[in-house]
Each structure stands twice: as structure tokens, then as C-alpha cells.
Amino acid sequence: MARQERYDAIVVGSGITGGWAAKELTERGLRTLVLEAGRSIDPENDYVMTTQAWELPFRGRRDRIRQERERPIQRECYACDEWSEKFFVRDDENPYTTEDGKPFLWIRSRQVGGRSIVWGRQVYRLSDLDFEANARDGFGVDWPIRYADIEPWYDHVERFIGVSGQAEGLAQLPDSRFLPPMNLNCAEQHVRESLMNHFGGERVLTIGRCAILTDDHRGRRACHYCGTCERGCTTHSYFSSLAATLPAAAATGRMTLRPYSVVHSVIYDPTSGRASGVRVIDAETQESIEFHGRLVFLCASALESTRILLHSATERWPDGLANSSGQLGHNLMDHTMGGGAQGLISGMDDKWVYGRRPNGIYLPRFRNVSEQHPDFLRGYAYQGGGSRTGWARGNDMPGFGADFKHALRAPGPWQFRFYGFGECLPRESNQVSLDPDRVDAWGIPVLNIQCEWSDNERAALSDMSIQAAEMLEAAGASDISTFIEDNPPGLTIHEMGTARMGRDPETSVLNGWNQSWDVPNLFVTDGACMTSSANQNPSLTYMALTARAVDYAVKQISDGRL
């Protein structure tokens, strides 16, 4: 039996953008319903930060056979391990389809907090090099915004979440509002200095910019350097919606958070031309329930938000709600990853690190910044870092016995690795649609995903590997080896696009405020909105766009336009 409940705003999803929408809406006085498809998470019981390897049945190797049955796709993500697999969906309940030979790995969480519980925590601003990219080379449509439009919202988000990092003053990677940076280790410091000498400031190695606290911040504690954030942090030292934005929303007294609420579709009212609410399947009872609200914010993750719109087709929009442009589902992107090189850094044998830093280095984009590379458009950046090998090098050493055991007590040589992440061009042919033949555990049609890398991405991957080796050489490394991994799209877990923002309702789904051109009280503020991918880790941009969109929507309401 369908119920009728009315809210000022409905937010679909409780992850990194849903949490921001909830916080900003409730703090502006709106009674807000947050719908989460998965279960509640209780950090006291669900986080496994202090669980030691010896307490797990397979000592951290994972239950291989069960994972192959329940999470054959999710297990491809490093964080879906024996500690943290419960923070990822079961693939048997959440299927999707691809074509043979065109794999796409869709890594997902359904729980209060979403993927913000297991995210990589790296946060980087986009710059006008990124916002102007499509207009410059003609791939995709022009972003409807520029850096100046989003800059105050980056500030706003960073002040709240806490971002540690080092200001470098680079035009292509604007500095955030930083808490103190984590240290570079000795090898990284050496490589930074070598690159400064060799490339004269064109290639700047800096500490990763991450949403992990280096000082106590707004009631959350500074990092204690246990090193494995994805197990959940009981001191809330890394940002997640569960640790920060959802509690802020709850503190207003205006948030209703409903777990086990799988959104089936957005309800469109043809009379008013507005979304009147959403239809939900209760994940525990399979009951169909309707909720009504004045605003609808889709923050369910790029592909889930698009899936909901595709499944909300109406007479007016038979190919998906708010799809006058025909672009809904198209222009899917992810970042490439895995072009790079590694080598050994000699010297500093008497130096080591104390503590486990949950962060690496970042080497911002240097390609196609001032001059055009002949082989590819756009750019890439590296993560990675220096470390000394531990006991695992015993696998590659000769011997056994007491001497072998005692040799493994000392650290091995310093090694250094550059691991590249590259921009993906927006292309209409990379797309998702509803599969007419298959439904998920709640009876909702699943996505068919068609996505492939192009020669442009492959050329950049190749260059990542060559340039990484060149930089290691410049740093005097030995035993340099290059690699180009063959990672399918999706695995970087930066999937984005499929409901892009634009300047023209004929060619884009959302306007410059993340607002549907067709349905003015409908906003999509997760990765679906992205017009191009840039090469930076995208979550910070999603958060800033969400806060900006809420500010706009609420002003529209005050002005009587919504």
C-alpha cells in the first residue's frame, strides 16, 4: 500500500554527495528525506580498524571461493578484502550486463555512507585547463562553468572536510585550503629535489592531497597512522559522509534518513511539469512506497542516478526522464590507470619511516599544459611513492632457516613507483542503457554498460610509462622497469558522465547548476553530471558542485521560482 509523505527535499543516496546535499539542505531549513538503498552502518560494530590479520579465518587473503560466488566483480577492487568486503555490494544481487570483450568493472557500495567509507580519500581541484578542455579540442560539449564559479565551493567543502596537503602554486592544480601536509619520506624527498633540478619546476612531486586530518578538526581526531583507512576509522580521521556530513544534517533536526530504500523511479507530475517525489522499494519487505518532496536531488552515484532516470521514462520522455537531449546514458567516462615505472633508489640505507602513512605522492599533470603533445589530448598525473620492502621480499630471496628469518628483520632497499592516472575523453558511444532482459534482486531493470578506451587513452598510458622511467632515471634510480597495465574501464572507480552538464538543453541533461533542463526541481549532483573527466580524483568536485547546487536551488525557492 503506497504511503504519502511530503518533505521539502528528497536526497537519493547517502554517500559522498548525498551527505553534502543533506547537510546543505537541512542547514538551510529544509526538511529533508535521505534515501539509502543499503543498510545502516554502526562504526562501533561495523568498522574493523583494530581487527588483526590473525583474527581472520584467511588472515587477510580473503575467502577466495566465497568471493568468487558473491563478489566476483567487487573483489577486483583492492579494498574489497577480508576486512572490508562487507562494505561492497554482492554482485549476485546487483547484476549488470556488458558485451563480450568489452568488460566494465562497476564497483559499488550500498550502505549509509556509501562508498565514502571505502574511498581513496585523494582530493584535487580541477582548474580552467580542465573546464576549458572540451571547448578547446572539441570533444564533448563545453562545461557551463569555469574555475571561478566553483572556487568558493571548493573552499566551502575543504574547510568542512579537512584536506591535508602542500601548497605548490600550480595553475593546472589549484591549491586547496590545507591542513598541514603529511611528510614525504626520504626517498620521495630525494626524487622531488631531483625532478626540481632536472625539469625546473615543470614536474613537481608533492605529497598527496587527501581528506585525512593531520590536526584535530571540527570534532574529528587527527590521523593515528594505522594505515588502512578502508577498514573504517573509529576516530573519523578521514572524511566520510557517515563521519561528518550526515551527523551535521542530523544535528539540524530536519533530516530523516531511511536505509533499505531502493529508489525505483522518480515520479513526474505532467500537470506541474515537476518531479513530485520518488517511488521506493523497501529492500527488506519489497513493499512499494512513495515519498513526495518539493526538490529531488539524485546523489546515488553516477550510474545509479542515471539508471533511476532511465527507469523513470514518461510519455513525454520515453527514453528516460529529463532526456530531451537524448544524451542521458551517454558520455560515460572513467580514468585510465596503470601506466608507470618503478626502480630502486640507492643510499639512505640508514633511514626508514615511522608509522603507516595512508597517502602517497602526487605528481600533477605536465602534459598538454603549455604545449600540445603530438600523440594525445588532455593529460595524466601520477600517484605512487617510495618505500622500503618488508618481509614479502623473502619470496624473491634465496634461502631458508635462521639467517633467512633474521635477514627479513631489516628493511630491504628503497623502491620508488610512479603510477599514472589519465583523462578519458567524453564519447557518446560509451554509454549505459536499461537491459530489457534482466532485473536485480528488487525487480528493477539492470544496466547494460558499453564502454571502451580509445587510442587517445592508450597513447597517454604509454607516455605515462615512458615519462615515469625518465623521471626515475633523472633521480638516479636503478633497476628501472616500466609497466602498462590493462585495466578495464570502471576499475579506477571514477566512473562519471551519463547526465552531463552543458550550456545547451539540446546537447546536455543538466544546466550549469546541476539542474535538469526539463524538470526544474530535479538535480543530479554526483559524478553523472561531469562534462569531462579531467585527470584528478573527482570526489572533491562532486562535493563542491553539490553544495553549489543546493545553494542555488534554495535561492530559487526563496525567489519563488521553484
Binding site: T50, Q52, A53, W54, P57, F58, R59, G60, R61, D63, R64, I65, M182, N183, L184, N185, C186, E188, Q189, C223, H224, Y225, C226, G227, T228, D349, D350, K351, W352, V353, Y354, G355, R356, R357, G390, W391, A392, G394, N395, P398, G399, F400, G401, A402, F404, K405, H406, L408, R409, A410, P411
Partner: protein, 153 residues
């Protein structure tokens, strides 16, 4: 139980030979043989399991041929000699063949290493146990950190 008692004795002897008791406990005290049994029985795929079982049988067969007893009953010198021979043969195979399946010695030693360094003894007594380091310093004298820090696994 997956292994026979003789197989279990061979596994115990091999494990302790690779990570013996010294100033810290060795593989047997750390529960490595039980870990190996779990992995071979419930984690390995058929191919890895068959390769492991063949290799294990061969250890006892070679000891029988050389010394007239099974591996666990043989003298320390004999055990070391056989294990060294297996290591050398395995290493030769790794060097000469393109991407061969991991030879038995390397397979077995890998299990001992991952079992030992994920055990409570391995993590708390052999390695420097720092579940909550509390700070990060990227460049300290190695003498301040006398033993490998667990990588969290």
C-alpha cells in the same frame, strides 16, 4: 582434516626448517602448518592444490630414496640437503622457463612466509607491533625502528 598425519608431519618439519625457532618462536609455534592446511584445503584452486600435493609426496619419496625414512624422520642434515636441492631446482626452472607454475619449494616457502607474518607471533613478536603508531615520520634513523613494521596485513 585434509592432510594425513604423515603429510602433516612433513609440513611441520618443512615449515620449521624455513622459519625456525630462534630468539623468537618459529613456524610451528606460530601455527603455520594449520594455516597451510586451511589454504590448501579451502583456498587453493584444483591446479595449485594438485601441484602442492605432488610436491609434498615427492619430498617424502626423495627422502626415502636417499635416507630410507620419511622427511620428518630424517636427520637435520638430510632435511637441509633435500630442501636446498628443491630450492635450486625450482630456481633453475623459474630462470629457464617462460612463466612456469610456481615450483614446490617457492610455493611452500610463500605459504610459510604469509602464514608466519600474519600470525599473532609473527606480527607481535617477530615484527615490530605498531597497531596505532600515532604519528608518521618519513625519515627516521633505522635504529629507531629495529624491525620491519607490519604492512597492516
Amino acid at each position: 582434516m585434509f592432510f594425513t598425519s604423515q603429510q602433516r608431519e612433513t609440513i611441520e618439519a618443512l615449515s620449521e626448517l624455513i622459519i625456525p625457532t630462534t630468539d623468537t618462536p618459529g613456524a610451528i609455534t606460530a601455527g603455520v602448518p594449520e594455516f597451510i592446511e586451511l589454504i590448501v584445503a579451502e583456498w587453493y584452486d584444483t591446479e595449485d592444490r594438485e601441484r602442492f600435493m605432488l610436491g609434498l609426496t615427492e619430498v617424502d619419496e626423495r627422502t626415502q630414496a636417499l635416507a630410507g625414512v620419511v622427511f620428518s624422520q630424517s636427520k637435520a642434515d638430510t632435511q637441509t640437503e633435500i630442501l636446498s636441492a628443491l630450492e635450486t631446482e625450482g630456481q633453475a626452472r623459474i630462470m629457464s622457463e617462460e612463466d612456469p607454475p610456481t615450483p614446490f619449494f617457492q610455493q611452500f616457502r610463500g605459504l610459510v612466509l604469509s602464514g608466519y607474518y600474519s600470525s599473532e607471533i609473527g606480527l607481535r613478536q617477530e615484527l615490530l607491533y605498531q597497531p596505532i603508531p600515532g604519528r608518521f615520520d618519513g625519515c627516521v634513523d633505522v635504529s629507531e625502528v629495529t624491525r620491519p613494521v607490519s604492512d597492516g596485513n
